[in-house]
Protein backbone atom coordinates (compact mmCIF):
# COMPACT_ATOMS: atom_id res chain seq x y z
CA UNK A 1 0.00 0.00 0.00
CA UNK A 2 1.40 3.33 -1.04
CA UNK A 3 0.35 6.05 1.37
CA UNK A 4 1.31 9.56 0.49
CA UNK A 5 1.48 12.01 3.36
CA UNK A 6 1.18 14.84 0.88
CA UNK A 7 -2.15 13.54 -0.41
CA UNK A 8 -3.48 12.95 3.08
CA UNK A 9 -2.58 16.51 4.01
CA UNK A 10 -4.15 17.82 0.79
CA UNK A 11 -7.45 16.13 1.70
CA UNK A 12 -7.27 17.40 5.28
CA UNK A 13 -6.52 20.93 4.09
CA UNK A 14 -9.30 20.80 1.50
CA UNK A 15 -11.87 19.87 4.15
CA UNK A 16 -10.74 22.65 6.49
CA UNK A 17 -10.66 25.21 3.68
CA UNK A 18 -14.17 24.29 2.62
CA UNK A 19 -15.32 24.68 6.20
CA UNK A 20 -13.81 28.14 6.53
CA UNK A 21 -16.03 29.30 3.66
CA UNK A 22 -19.15 27.94 5.34
CA UNK A 23 -19.80 30.39 8.17
CA UNK A 24 -23.08 28.79 9.22
CA UNK A 25 -21.49 25.39 9.68
CA UNK A 26 -18.72 26.95 11.77
CA UNK A 27 -21.37 28.64 13.90
CA UNK A 28 -23.14 25.34 14.42
CA UNK A 29 -19.86 23.59 15.17
CA UNK A 30 -19.28 25.97 18.04
CA UNK A 31 -22.86 26.25 19.26
CA UNK A 32 -23.84 22.61 19.05
CA UNK A 33 -21.47 21.21 21.74
CA UNK A 34 -22.31 24.06 24.13
CA UNK A 35 -25.98 23.50 23.50
CA UNK A 36 -25.72 19.73 23.93
CA UNK A 37 -23.67 20.06 27.12
CA UNK A 38 -26.35 22.22 28.72
CA UNK A 39 -29.13 19.95 27.49
CA UNK A 40 -27.64 16.76 28.82
CA UNK A 41 -26.45 18.48 31.97
CA UNK A 42 -29.95 19.61 32.80
CA UNK A 43 -31.87 16.71 31.40
CA UNK A 44 -30.11 13.89 33.21
CA UNK A 45 -30.12 13.32 36.93
CA UNK A 46 -32.28 16.30 37.76
CA UNK A 47 -35.01 15.54 40.25
CA UNK A 48 -38.58 16.43 39.40
CA UNK A 49 -39.44 19.67 41.15
CA UNK A 50 -42.36 21.99 41.81
CA UNK A 51 -45.08 19.70 40.49
CA UNK A 52 -48.34 21.66 40.82
CA UNK A 53 -50.82 19.91 43.09
CA UNK A 54 -53.87 20.97 45.11
CA UNK A 55 -54.94 20.20 48.66
CA UNK A 56 -58.32 20.35 50.27
CA UNK A 57 -58.35 20.09 54.02
CA UNK A 58 -61.47 18.76 55.77
CA UNK A 59 -59.67 18.13 59.03
CA UNK A 60 -61.76 19.29 61.94
CA UNK A 61 -58.88 19.05 64.35
CA UNK A 62 -58.82 17.63 67.80
CA UNK A 63 -61.14 19.88 69.71
CA UNK A 64 -60.54 20.19 73.36
CA UNK A 65 -57.78 17.66 73.43
CA UNK A 66 -54.71 19.42 74.69
CA UNK A 67 -51.61 18.28 72.98
CA UNK A 68 -48.12 19.60 73.54
CA UNK A 69 -49.69 22.45 75.37
CA UNK A 70 -51.88 23.50 72.48
CA UNK A 71 -55.60 23.28 72.90
CA UNK A 72 -57.11 23.24 69.40
CA UNK A 73 -54.74 21.37 67.17
CA UNK A 74 -55.03 20.57 63.46
CA UNK A 75 -52.19 18.26 62.64
CA UNK A 76 -53.12 18.57 58.99
CA UNK A 77 -51.80 22.11 59.07
CA UNK A 78 -48.41 20.88 60.19
CA UNK A 79 -48.55 18.44 57.30
CA UNK A 80 -49.52 21.15 54.79
CA UNK A 81 -46.84 23.44 56.12
CA UNK A 82 -44.17 20.74 55.78
CA UNK A 83 -45.36 19.89 52.30
CA UNK A 84 -45.08 23.55 51.34
CA UNK A 85 -41.43 23.44 52.35
CA UNK A 86 -40.85 20.44 50.10
CA UNK A 87 -39.59 21.57 46.68
CA UNK A 88 -40.87 18.48 44.89
CA UNK A 89 -44.39 19.91 44.90
CA UNK A 90 -46.04 23.28 44.52
CA UNK A 91 -49.21 23.52 46.55
CA UNK A 92 -52.45 25.33 46.03
CA UNK A 93 -55.01 25.17 48.85
CA UNK A 94 -58.66 24.73 47.98
CA UNK A 95 -61.57 25.96 50.07
CA UNK A 96 -63.25 23.07 51.85
CA UNK A 97 -66.73 24.64 51.90
CA UNK A 98 -66.94 25.19 48.15
CA UNK A 99 -65.16 22.00 47.17
CA UNK A 100 -66.77 19.87 44.47
CA UNK A 101 -65.02 16.51 44.09
CA UNK A 102 -66.19 15.53 40.64
CA UNK A 103 -65.50 18.99 39.23
CA UNK A 104 -62.02 19.07 40.72
CA UNK A 105 -61.00 15.58 39.66
CA UNK A 106 -62.12 16.22 36.09
CA UNK A 107 -59.51 18.98 35.91
CA UNK A 108 -56.59 16.80 37.04
CA UNK A 109 -54.43 16.66 33.92
CA UNK A 110 -50.76 17.58 33.49
CA UNK A 111 -51.70 19.89 30.62
CA UNK A 112 -53.75 21.98 33.03
CA UNK A 113 -50.72 22.26 35.31
CA UNK A 114 -52.53 20.12 37.84
CA UNK A 115 -51.15 16.67 38.54
CA UNK A 116 -52.73 15.62 41.82
CA UNK A 117 -55.28 16.44 44.47
CA UNK A 118 -54.81 15.57 48.15
CA UNK A 119 -57.88 15.22 50.32
CA UNK A 120 -57.26 15.37 54.04
CA UNK A 121 -60.16 13.72 55.80
CA UNK A 122 -62.33 15.14 58.57
CA UNK A 123 -60.78 12.89 61.22
CA UNK A 124 -57.12 13.35 60.34
CA UNK A 125 -56.17 14.89 63.69
CA UNK A 126 -58.61 12.82 65.64
CA UNK A 127 -57.24 9.58 64.23
CA UNK A 128 -53.76 10.70 64.99
CA UNK A 129 -54.65 11.46 68.56
CA UNK A 130 -56.23 8.05 68.88
CA UNK A 131 -52.92 6.51 67.86
CA UNK A 132 -54.12 3.09 67.02
CA UNK A 133 -56.39 4.00 64.14
CA UNK A 134 -55.15 3.99 60.58
CA UNK A 135 -54.68 7.43 59.14
CA UNK A 136 -55.78 7.85 55.57
CA UNK A 137 -55.12 10.58 53.04
CA UNK A 138 -56.70 10.41 49.58
CA UNK A 139 -54.58 11.23 46.58
CA UNK A 140 -56.24 11.72 43.17
CA UNK A 141 -53.59 11.60 40.50
CA UNK A 142 -52.86 11.97 36.82
CA UNK A 143 -50.54 8.99 36.58
CA UNK A 144 -49.85 9.21 32.86
CA UNK A 145 -46.38 10.59 33.62
CA UNK A 146 -44.99 8.00 36.06
CA UNK A 147 -41.80 9.91 36.89
CA UNK A 148 -43.63 13.05 37.87
CA UNK A 149 -46.28 11.33 39.86
CA UNK A 150 -43.92 9.01 41.74
CA UNK A 151 -42.13 12.12 42.93
CA UNK A 152 -45.45 13.52 44.18
CA UNK A 153 -46.38 10.27 45.92
CA UNK A 154 -42.95 10.11 47.52
CA UNK A 155 -43.21 13.69 48.76
CA UNK A 156 -46.68 13.19 50.22
CA UNK A 157 -45.91 9.91 51.97
CA UNK A 158 -42.60 11.11 53.34
CA UNK A 159 -44.04 14.31 54.70
CA UNK A 160 -47.18 12.75 56.20
CA UNK A 161 -45.10 9.91 57.58
CA UNK A 162 -42.70 12.32 59.20
CA UNK A 163 -45.53 14.31 60.77
CA UNK A 164 -47.17 11.17 62.10
CA UNK A 165 -43.89 9.86 63.45
CA UNK A 166 -43.10 13.04 65.29
CA UNK A 167 -46.58 13.28 66.76
CA UNK A 168 -47.55 9.71 67.42
CA UNK A 169 -44.14 8.12 67.63
CA UNK A 170 -44.71 5.44 65.01
CA UNK A 171 -47.87 4.38 66.76
CA UNK A 172 -50.31 5.35 64.04
CA UNK A 173 -50.33 3.83 60.61
CA UNK A 174 -50.56 5.87 57.41
CA UNK A 175 -52.32 4.83 54.26
CA UNK A 176 -52.35 6.91 51.14
CA UNK A 177 -55.34 6.00 49.07
CA UNK A 178 -54.20 6.48 45.45
CA UNK A 179 -56.98 7.10 42.98
CA UNK A 180 -55.82 7.27 39.37
CA UNK A 181 -57.89 9.81 37.50
CA UNK A 182 -55.62 9.13 34.55
CA UNK A 183 -53.04 6.44 33.89
CA UNK A 184 -52.56 3.57 36.26
CA UNK A 185 -49.84 2.28 38.55
CA UNK A 186 -49.13 -0.63 36.22
CA UNK A 187 -48.18 1.63 33.33
CA UNK A 188 -45.20 0.13 31.52
CA UNK A 189 -42.47 2.36 30.05
CA UNK A 190 -43.72 1.55 26.54
CA UNK A 191 -47.24 2.70 27.45
CA UNK A 192 -45.80 5.98 28.56
CA UNK A 193 -43.22 6.36 25.76
CA UNK A 194 -45.38 4.98 22.93
CA UNK A 195 -47.54 8.07 22.42
CA UNK A 196 -44.35 10.14 22.53
CA UNK A 197 -42.69 8.01 19.87
CA UNK A 198 -45.58 8.82 17.53
CA UNK A 199 -45.00 12.55 17.77
CA UNK A 200 -41.25 12.15 17.75
CA UNK A 201 -41.21 9.98 14.61
CA UNK A 202 -43.51 12.42 12.80
CA UNK A 203 -41.33 15.34 13.76
CA UNK A 204 -38.17 13.58 12.62
CA UNK A 205 -39.63 12.61 9.28
CA UNK A 206 -41.26 15.98 8.58
CA UNK A 207 -38.21 18.03 9.46
CA UNK A 208 -35.89 15.90 7.34
CA UNK A 209 -38.13 15.71 4.28
CA UNK A 210 -39.47 19.25 4.34
CA UNK A 211 -36.26 21.07 5.24
CA UNK A 212 -34.20 18.92 2.87
CA UNK A 213 -36.87 18.96 0.18
CA UNK A 214 -37.31 22.72 0.06
CA UNK A 215 -33.58 23.35 0.14
CA UNK A 216 -33.13 20.91 -2.74
CA UNK A 217 -35.94 22.56 -4.73
CA UNK A 218 -34.15 25.86 -4.36
CA UNK A 219 -30.70 24.49 -5.17
CA UNK A 220 -31.73 22.47 -8.21
CA UNK A 221 -33.87 25.32 -9.53
CA UNK A 222 -37.11 23.34 -9.64
CA UNK A 223 -38.65 25.89 -7.27
CA UNK A 224 -38.09 28.70 -9.80
CA UNK A 225 -39.30 26.58 -12.65
CA UNK A 226 -42.48 25.89 -10.70
CA UNK A 227 -42.84 29.62 -10.01
CA UNK A 228 -42.62 30.37 -13.75
CA UNK A 229 -45.71 28.23 -14.30
CA UNK A 230 -47.47 30.98 -12.26
CA UNK A 231 -47.86 28.61 -9.30
CA UNK A 232 -48.05 30.79 -6.20
CA UNK A 233 -46.09 30.21 -3.03
CA UNK A 234 -49.39 29.43 -1.31
CA UNK A 235 -50.09 26.64 -3.76
CA UNK A 236 -46.58 25.27 -3.27
CA UNK A 237 -46.89 25.37 0.51
CA UNK A 238 -50.37 23.90 0.70
CA UNK A 239 -49.30 21.15 -1.72
CA UNK A 240 -46.37 20.34 0.52
CA UNK A 241 -48.61 20.44 3.58
CA UNK A 242 -51.13 18.00 2.14
CA UNK A 243 -48.56 15.58 0.77
CA UNK A 244 -46.53 15.47 3.95
CA UNK A 245 -49.41 15.31 6.37
CA UNK A 246 -50.84 12.42 4.39
CA UNK A 247 -47.52 10.61 4.81
CA UNK A 248 -47.59 11.58 8.51
CA UNK A 249 -50.96 9.91 8.96
CA UNK A 250 -49.84 6.74 7.19
CA UNK A 251 -46.73 6.71 9.36
CA UNK A 252 -48.85 7.15 12.50
CA UNK A 253 -51.12 4.30 11.49
CA UNK A 254 -48.11 2.07 10.97
CA UNK A 255 -46.65 3.00 14.36
CA UNK A 256 -49.98 2.38 16.05
CA UNK A 257 -50.32 -1.04 14.45
CA UNK A 258 -46.84 -1.97 15.69
CA UNK A 259 -47.56 -0.66 19.18
CA UNK A 260 -50.81 -2.57 19.42
CA UNK A 261 -49.69 -5.89 17.94
CA UNK A 262 -46.12 -6.10 19.16
CA UNK A 263 -46.24 -4.17 22.41
CA UNK A 264 -49.84 -4.80 23.43
CA UNK A 265 -50.41 -1.10 23.90
CA UNK A 266 -53.98 -0.15 24.51
CA UNK A 267 -55.68 2.83 23.00
CA UNK A 268 -58.49 3.68 25.35
CA UNK A 269 -59.60 6.92 23.72
CA UNK A 270 -60.92 7.98 20.35
CA UNK A 271 -58.48 6.99 17.63
CA UNK A 272 -60.00 9.40 15.10
CA UNK A 273 -59.45 12.25 17.52
CA UNK A 274 -55.85 11.09 17.90
CA UNK A 275 -55.37 11.16 14.12
CA UNK A 276 -56.93 14.58 13.91
CA UNK A 277 -54.52 15.92 16.55
CA UNK A 278 -51.56 14.30 14.80
CA UNK A 279 -52.70 15.85 11.51
CA UNK A 280 -52.67 19.35 13.04
CA UNK A 281 -49.36 18.63 14.72
CA UNK A 282 -47.82 17.36 11.46
CA UNK A 283 -48.81 20.65 9.82
CA UNK A 284 -46.90 22.56 12.48
CA UNK A 285 -43.86 20.38 11.72
CA UNK A 286 -44.17 21.13 7.99
CA UNK A 287 -44.42 24.87 8.77
CA UNK A 288 -41.34 24.65 10.97
CA UNK A 289 -39.50 22.67 8.28
CA UNK A 290 -40.26 25.24 5.58
CA UNK A 291 -39.27 28.06 7.93
CA UNK A 292 -35.98 26.32 8.77
CA UNK A 293 -35.23 25.66 5.10
CA UNK A 294 -35.27 29.39 4.34
CA UNK A 295 -32.09 29.71 6.43
CA UNK A 296 -30.21 26.95 4.65
CA UNK A 297 -28.10 27.78 1.63
CA UNK A 298 -26.82 24.25 1.13
CA UNK A 299 -28.21 20.80 1.83
CA UNK A 300 -25.48 20.30 4.44
CA UNK A 301 -26.78 23.33 6.30
CA UNK A 302 -30.34 22.06 5.97
CA UNK A 303 -29.38 18.78 7.60
CA UNK A 304 -27.70 20.60 10.44
CA UNK A 305 -31.06 22.09 11.32
CA UNK A 306 -32.40 18.61 12.00
CA UNK A 307 -30.57 18.03 15.32
CA UNK A 308 -30.92 21.70 16.17
CA UNK A 309 -34.70 21.37 16.07
CA UNK A 310 -34.96 17.76 17.07
CA UNK A 311 -32.87 17.70 20.24
CA UNK A 312 -34.70 20.47 22.13
CA UNK A 313 -38.01 18.95 21.09
CA UNK A 314 -36.90 15.56 22.33
CA UNK A 315 -35.62 16.85 25.66
CA UNK A 316 -38.05 19.57 26.58
CA UNK A 317 -41.33 18.17 25.32
CA UNK A 318 -41.72 15.69 28.16
CA UNK A 319 -41.07 12.83 25.76
CA UNK A 320 -38.54 11.13 28.04
CA UNK A 321 -37.89 13.54 30.89
CA UNK A 322 -40.70 15.20 32.82
CA UNK A 323 -40.98 18.91 32.07
CA UNK A 324 -41.02 19.62 35.80
CA UNK A 325 -37.47 18.36 36.16
CA UNK A 326 -36.06 21.26 34.14
CA UNK A 327 -35.02 24.72 35.26
CA UNK A 328 -37.69 27.36 34.65
CA UNK A 329 -36.09 28.73 31.49
CA UNK A 330 -36.28 25.34 29.76
CA UNK A 331 -39.83 24.90 30.94
CA UNK A 332 -40.64 28.17 29.19
CA UNK A 333 -38.97 26.84 26.01
CA UNK A 334 -41.15 23.73 26.27
CA UNK A 335 -44.25 25.91 25.90
CA UNK A 336 -43.17 26.80 22.35
CA UNK A 337 -42.50 23.24 21.25
CA UNK A 338 -45.47 21.70 19.40
CA UNK A 339 -44.29 18.24 20.45
CA UNK A 340 -44.95 19.11 24.12
CA UNK A 341 -48.66 19.41 23.43
CA UNK A 342 -48.91 16.66 20.89
CA UNK A 343 -47.27 14.14 23.27
CA UNK A 344 -49.42 15.18 26.20
CA UNK A 345 -52.62 14.98 24.17
CA UNK A 346 -51.60 11.63 22.64
CA UNK A 347 -51.01 10.25 26.14
CA UNK A 348 -54.28 11.70 27.33
CA UNK A 349 -56.15 9.99 24.50
CA UNK A 350 -54.24 6.71 24.39
CA UNK A 351 -53.63 6.03 28.08
CA UNK A 352 -56.56 7.83 29.69
CA UNK A 353 -59.21 7.96 27.04
CA UNK A 354 -59.63 11.68 27.64
CA UNK A 355 -61.55 13.83 25.19
CA UNK A 356 -61.26 17.42 24.00
CA UNK A 357 -63.12 18.67 27.08
CA UNK A 358 -60.06 17.82 29.20
CA UNK A 359 -57.22 18.90 26.95
CA UNK A 360 -58.91 21.66 24.97
CA UNK A 361 -56.28 24.15 26.20
CA UNK A 362 -53.43 21.98 24.87
CA UNK A 363 -55.36 21.56 21.64
CA UNK A 364 -55.89 25.30 21.22
CA UNK A 365 -52.19 25.93 21.83
CA UNK A 366 -51.31 23.27 19.22
CA UNK A 367 -53.57 25.07 16.76
CA UNK A 368 -51.98 28.39 17.67
CA UNK A 369 -48.43 27.08 17.26
CA UNK A 370 -49.35 25.45 13.94
CA UNK A 371 -50.74 28.77 12.76
CA UNK A 372 -47.63 30.59 14.00
CA UNK A 373 -45.21 28.27 12.20
CA UNK A 374 -47.23 28.38 9.00
CA UNK A 375 -47.27 32.18 9.11
CA UNK A 376 -43.51 32.20 9.70
CA UNK A 377 -43.10 29.82 6.77
CA UNK A 378 -45.22 32.04 4.50
CA UNK A 379 -43.40 35.20 5.53
CA UNK A 380 -39.90 33.78 5.17
CA UNK A 381 -40.46 31.47 2.21
CA UNK A 382 -39.44 33.18 -1.02
CA UNK A 383 -39.75 31.87 -4.53
CA UNK A 384 -37.03 34.24 -5.66
CA UNK A 385 -33.27 33.96 -5.65
Amino acid sequence: MNISFKRIMAITRKNLQALIHDKRTIGLLIMMPIFLMFLFGYAFGQPVKHVPIKIVNFDEGGEGIPYLGVNDTKFSEIFIHSLKEDDRVKIKLLEANTFDLSKETSKIYGGNNYYALIIIPINFTENMLNFSKAIQVSLYIDGSDPQTISSVIAAVSEVVGKVINVITGEEAHLTIEQIYVAGNPDLRPIDYLGPGILSFALFLFMIITVTGGFTRERLTGTLYRVKVTSTSKWEIMIGYLLGNTLIALIQSALLLIISIFFFQMQIIGNILLLFFILFIYAMSCVGLGIFASTFAKTELQAFQFVPLLLIPSMFFSGFIFPINSFPKIFQIISYFIPMTYSIRISRAIMINGFGLEVFYMDFLITLGLTFLFLVLAVVFFKTKQ
Partner: protein, 252 residues
Protein backbone atom coordinates in the same frame (compact mmCIF):
# COMPACT_ATOMS: atom_id res chain seq x y z
CA UNK B 1 -42.48 44.50 -29.32
CA UNK B 2 -42.91 41.34 -27.30
CA UNK B 3 -40.04 42.01 -24.91
CA UNK B 4 -38.78 45.48 -24.15
CA UNK B 5 -36.17 46.12 -21.49
CA UNK B 6 -34.39 49.30 -20.51
CA UNK B 7 -32.02 50.37 -17.78
CA UNK B 8 -31.77 46.83 -16.41
CA UNK B 9 -29.00 46.43 -13.84
CA UNK B 10 -28.15 43.94 -11.14
CA UNK B 11 -25.47 44.26 -8.49
CA UNK B 12 -24.40 41.66 -5.98
CA UNK B 13 -22.66 43.80 -3.38
CA UNK B 14 -20.04 45.80 -5.27
CA UNK B 15 -20.09 43.37 -8.19
CA UNK B 16 -22.16 44.46 -11.17
CA UNK B 17 -23.53 41.42 -12.98
CA UNK B 18 -25.69 43.40 -15.42
CA UNK B 19 -25.30 47.07 -16.22
CA UNK B 20 -27.88 49.26 -17.98
CA UNK B 21 -29.06 46.56 -20.34
CA UNK B 22 -31.37 47.56 -23.21
CA UNK B 23 -33.22 44.91 -25.17
CA UNK B 24 -36.01 44.78 -27.75
CA UNK B 25 -37.41 41.58 -29.20
CA UNK B 26 -40.13 41.38 -31.87
CA UNK B 27 -42.85 38.81 -32.21
CA UNK B 28 -41.81 35.58 -33.90
CA UNK B 29 -38.15 36.46 -33.68
CA UNK B 30 -35.31 34.23 -32.48
CA UNK B 31 -33.12 36.54 -30.44
CA UNK B 32 -29.82 35.22 -29.17
CA UNK B 33 -28.04 36.64 -26.15
CA UNK B 34 -24.50 35.71 -26.97
CA UNK B 35 -21.68 36.03 -24.49
CA UNK B 36 -19.13 34.13 -22.46
CA UNK B 37 -19.86 32.55 -19.08
CA UNK B 38 -20.35 35.22 -16.45
CA UNK B 39 -21.48 37.87 -18.93
CA UNK B 40 -24.87 38.21 -17.18
CA UNK B 41 -27.10 36.19 -19.51
CA UNK B 42 -28.72 34.01 -16.83
CA UNK B 43 -29.02 36.98 -14.46
CA UNK B 44 -30.87 38.90 -17.19
CA UNK B 45 -33.26 36.03 -17.86
CA UNK B 46 -33.90 35.55 -14.13
CA UNK B 47 -34.90 39.21 -13.87
CA UNK B 48 -37.19 38.98 -16.91
CA UNK B 49 -38.98 36.06 -15.27
CA UNK B 50 -39.16 37.70 -11.83
CA UNK B 51 -36.98 35.06 -10.24
CA UNK B 52 -34.47 37.76 -9.29
CA UNK B 53 -35.13 41.37 -8.36
CA UNK B 54 -33.35 43.93 -10.54
CA UNK B 55 -31.73 47.07 -9.13
CA UNK B 56 -34.20 49.97 -8.88
CA UNK B 57 -34.93 51.95 -12.01
CA UNK B 58 -35.27 49.02 -14.41
CA UNK B 59 -38.14 48.84 -16.87
CA UNK B 60 -39.24 45.48 -18.20
CA UNK B 61 -42.27 45.03 -20.47
CA UNK B 62 -43.43 41.69 -21.85
CA UNK B 63 -46.34 41.88 -24.29
CA UNK B 64 -46.89 45.44 -23.10
CA UNK B 65 -47.29 44.36 -19.49
CA UNK B 66 -45.10 45.75 -16.81
CA UNK B 67 -42.88 43.18 -15.07
CA UNK B 68 -42.85 42.16 -12.26
CA UNK B 69 -46.21 43.77 -11.45
CA UNK B 70 -48.19 41.84 -14.07
CA UNK B 71 -45.95 38.81 -14.50
CA UNK B 72 -48.72 36.42 -13.45
CA UNK B 73 -50.78 37.50 -16.48
CA UNK B 74 -48.12 36.27 -18.89
CA UNK B 75 -46.41 33.35 -17.14
CA UNK B 76 -48.74 30.91 -18.91
CA UNK B 77 -47.57 32.23 -22.27
CA UNK B 78 -43.93 31.60 -21.43
CA UNK B 79 -41.98 28.37 -21.75
CA UNK B 80 -38.80 28.39 -19.72
CA UNK B 81 -35.82 26.08 -19.89
CA UNK B 82 -33.31 26.96 -17.18
CA UNK B 83 -29.61 26.36 -17.45
CA UNK B 84 -29.62 23.90 -14.57
CA UNK B 85 -31.55 20.69 -15.05
CA UNK B 86 -34.44 21.78 -12.79
CA UNK B 87 -36.30 18.49 -13.02
CA UNK B 88 -37.26 16.08 -10.27
CA UNK B 89 -34.62 13.37 -10.30
CA UNK B 90 -36.79 10.94 -8.38
CA UNK B 91 -39.66 11.15 -10.87
CA UNK B 92 -39.78 9.51 -14.29
CA UNK B 93 -39.66 11.46 -17.55
CA UNK B 94 -43.43 11.12 -17.92
CA UNK B 95 -44.15 12.02 -14.27
CA UNK B 96 -42.10 15.20 -14.62
CA UNK B 97 -44.04 16.14 -17.76
CA UNK B 98 -47.35 15.39 -16.10
CA UNK B 99 -46.40 17.41 -13.03
CA UNK B 100 -45.53 20.50 -15.05
CA UNK B 101 -48.51 19.89 -17.34
CA UNK B 102 -50.76 20.06 -14.29
CA UNK B 103 -49.05 23.23 -13.06
CA UNK B 104 -49.76 24.74 -16.48
CA UNK B 105 -53.33 23.50 -16.07
CA UNK B 106 -53.33 21.60 -19.36
CA UNK B 107 -56.85 20.10 -19.56
CA UNK B 108 -56.99 16.44 -18.62
CA UNK B 109 -58.60 15.56 -21.97
CA UNK B 110 -55.57 16.63 -23.98
CA UNK B 111 -52.82 16.18 -21.39
CA UNK B 112 -52.04 12.59 -22.27
CA UNK B 113 -51.95 13.19 -26.03
CA UNK B 114 -49.85 16.31 -25.56
CA UNK B 115 -47.32 14.39 -23.46
CA UNK B 116 -47.18 11.63 -26.11
CA UNK B 117 -46.69 14.23 -28.82
CA UNK B 118 -43.88 15.97 -26.97
CA UNK B 119 -42.20 12.67 -26.04
CA UNK B 120 -42.10 11.75 -29.71
CA UNK B 121 -40.76 15.16 -30.62
CA UNK B 122 -37.83 14.84 -28.24
CA UNK B 123 -37.47 11.13 -28.99
CA UNK B 124 -38.03 9.96 -25.42
CA UNK B 125 -41.16 7.82 -25.88
CA UNK B 126 -39.16 4.69 -25.26
CA UNK B 127 -37.71 6.09 -22.04
CA UNK B 128 -40.79 7.73 -20.63
CA UNK B 129 -40.88 5.40 -17.60
CA UNK B 130 -37.23 6.00 -16.77
CA UNK B 131 -36.29 8.00 -13.68
CA UNK B 132 -34.62 11.29 -14.56
CA UNK B 133 -31.71 10.33 -12.29
CA UNK B 134 -31.12 7.27 -14.50
CA UNK B 135 -31.24 9.24 -17.77
CA UNK B 136 -28.13 10.36 -19.63
CA UNK B 137 -27.22 14.05 -19.68
CA UNK B 138 -28.60 14.43 -23.20
CA UNK B 139 -31.89 12.77 -22.30
CA UNK B 140 -32.23 15.01 -19.26
CA UNK B 141 -31.71 18.12 -21.40
CA UNK B 142 -34.32 16.89 -23.86
CA UNK B 143 -36.80 16.31 -21.09
CA UNK B 144 -36.09 19.76 -19.71
CA UNK B 145 -36.83 21.25 -23.13
CA UNK B 146 -40.01 19.17 -23.32
CA UNK B 147 -41.23 20.75 -20.07
CA UNK B 148 -40.70 24.20 -21.58
CA UNK B 149 -42.65 23.29 -24.74
CA UNK B 150 -45.42 21.29 -23.11
CA UNK B 151 -48.09 24.00 -22.90
CA UNK B 152 -47.36 25.41 -26.39
CA UNK B 153 -45.99 28.73 -25.17
CA UNK B 154 -45.98 31.88 -27.30
CA UNK B 155 -42.69 33.01 -25.83
CA UNK B 156 -39.80 30.64 -25.23
CA UNK B 157 -36.99 31.62 -22.91
CA UNK B 158 -34.16 29.15 -23.16
CA UNK B 159 -31.05 29.47 -21.05
CA UNK B 160 -28.15 27.64 -22.70
CA UNK B 161 -30.41 24.88 -24.05
CA UNK B 162 -27.65 23.26 -26.08
CA UNK B 163 -25.05 22.85 -23.31
CA UNK B 164 -24.19 19.19 -22.86
CA UNK B 165 -26.20 18.23 -25.92
CA UNK B 166 -24.50 16.20 -28.66
CA UNK B 167 -24.03 17.90 -32.08
CA UNK B 168 -26.73 15.92 -33.85
CA UNK B 169 -29.35 16.72 -31.23
CA UNK B 170 -28.18 20.32 -31.15
CA UNK B 171 -29.04 20.62 -34.85
CA UNK B 172 -32.44 19.04 -34.19
CA UNK B 173 -33.08 21.53 -31.37
CA UNK B 174 -32.27 24.50 -33.59
CA UNK B 175 -34.34 23.19 -36.49
CA UNK B 176 -37.29 22.85 -34.15
CA UNK B 177 -36.81 26.36 -32.73
CA UNK B 178 -36.71 27.79 -36.25
CA UNK B 179 -39.81 25.83 -37.21
CA UNK B 180 -41.99 27.00 -34.34
CA UNK B 181 -40.72 30.54 -34.74
CA UNK B 182 -41.60 30.69 -38.43
CA UNK B 183 -44.73 28.55 -38.49
CA UNK B 184 -46.33 29.34 -35.13
CA UNK B 185 -44.90 32.81 -34.55
CA UNK B 186 -43.27 31.78 -31.29
CA UNK B 187 -40.88 34.41 -29.98
CA UNK B 188 -37.65 32.88 -28.71
CA UNK B 189 -35.08 34.42 -26.40
CA UNK B 190 -32.12 32.10 -26.23
CA UNK B 191 -28.76 32.37 -24.56
CA UNK B 192 -25.63 30.59 -25.63
CA UNK B 193 -21.92 30.89 -25.18
CA UNK B 194 -21.32 28.99 -28.42
CA UNK B 195 -20.65 31.87 -30.80
CA UNK B 196 -21.19 29.59 -33.82
CA UNK B 197 -24.80 29.08 -32.78
CA UNK B 198 -25.54 32.75 -33.30
CA UNK B 199 -26.16 32.07 -37.01
CA UNK B 200 -29.33 30.23 -36.10
CA UNK B 201 -30.78 33.42 -34.65
CA UNK B 202 -32.66 36.14 -36.51
CA UNK B 203 -30.93 38.75 -34.40
CA UNK B 204 -28.30 38.55 -31.72
CA UNK B 205 -27.07 40.77 -28.92
CA UNK B 206 -23.43 40.42 -27.98
CA UNK B 207 -23.40 40.61 -24.25
CA UNK B 208 -20.90 41.51 -21.60
CA UNK B 209 -22.90 42.82 -18.64
CA UNK B 210 -24.83 44.84 -21.23
CA UNK B 211 -25.67 44.51 -24.91
CA UNK B 212 -22.52 45.68 -26.68
CA UNK B 213 -24.14 45.56 -30.11
CA UNK B 214 -27.29 44.12 -31.57
CA UNK B 215 -28.27 43.08 -35.09
CA UNK B 216 -28.39 40.14 -37.47
CA UNK B 217 -25.22 38.02 -37.42
CA UNK B 218 -24.41 39.06 -40.99
CA UNK B 219 -24.92 42.75 -40.22
CA UNK B 220 -22.52 42.56 -37.28
CA UNK B 221 -19.87 40.79 -39.31
CA UNK B 222 -20.18 43.25 -42.18
CA UNK B 223 -19.92 46.11 -39.75
CA UNK B 224 -16.71 44.79 -38.19
CA UNK B 225 -15.30 44.09 -41.64
CA UNK B 226 -15.90 47.73 -42.51
CA UNK B 227 -14.70 49.15 -39.21
CA UNK B 228 -11.49 47.12 -39.24
CA UNK B 229 -11.10 47.60 -43.01
CA UNK B 230 -10.71 43.86 -43.53
CA UNK B 231 -10.62 42.26 -46.96
CA UNK B 232 -12.53 39.21 -45.69
CA UNK B 233 -15.62 38.64 -43.58
CA UNK B 234 -14.59 38.09 -39.95
CA UNK B 235 -15.96 35.18 -37.92
CA UNK B 236 -18.14 35.64 -34.88
CA UNK B 237 -15.19 35.29 -32.44
CA UNK B 238 -13.49 38.22 -34.10
CA UNK B 239 -16.70 40.23 -33.98
CA UNK B 240 -17.11 39.55 -30.28
CA UNK B 241 -13.49 40.32 -29.46
CA UNK B 242 -13.66 43.54 -31.47
CA UNK B 243 -16.67 44.86 -29.52
CA UNK B 244 -15.37 43.84 -26.09
CA UNK B 245 -12.11 45.66 -26.91
CA UNK B 246 -14.01 48.68 -28.09
CA UNK B 247 -15.93 48.70 -24.82
CA UNK B 248 -12.73 48.55 -22.77
CA UNK B 249 -11.27 51.44 -24.76
CA UNK B 250 -14.45 53.47 -24.25
CA UNK B 251 -14.39 52.78 -20.52
CA UNK B 252 -10.77 53.84 -20.18
Amino acid sequence: MIIEVSNLSKSFGSFKAVENLELKIQKGEIYGLIGPNGSGKTTTISMLLDILNPDPGAKIMIEGKEIPKRINEIYHKIGFMPQELSLYLDLTVEQNLRFFGDLYKIPKSIRYSRIQEILELIDLTEFRKRLISKCSGGMQRRCSLAVALLHKPEILILDEPTVGVDPELRIDFWNYFKKISKEDGVTILITTHYLAESFNCDRIGLMNKKILISGTPIELMEKVKELKSLDRVPDMEEVFIYYTHQEKIEKN
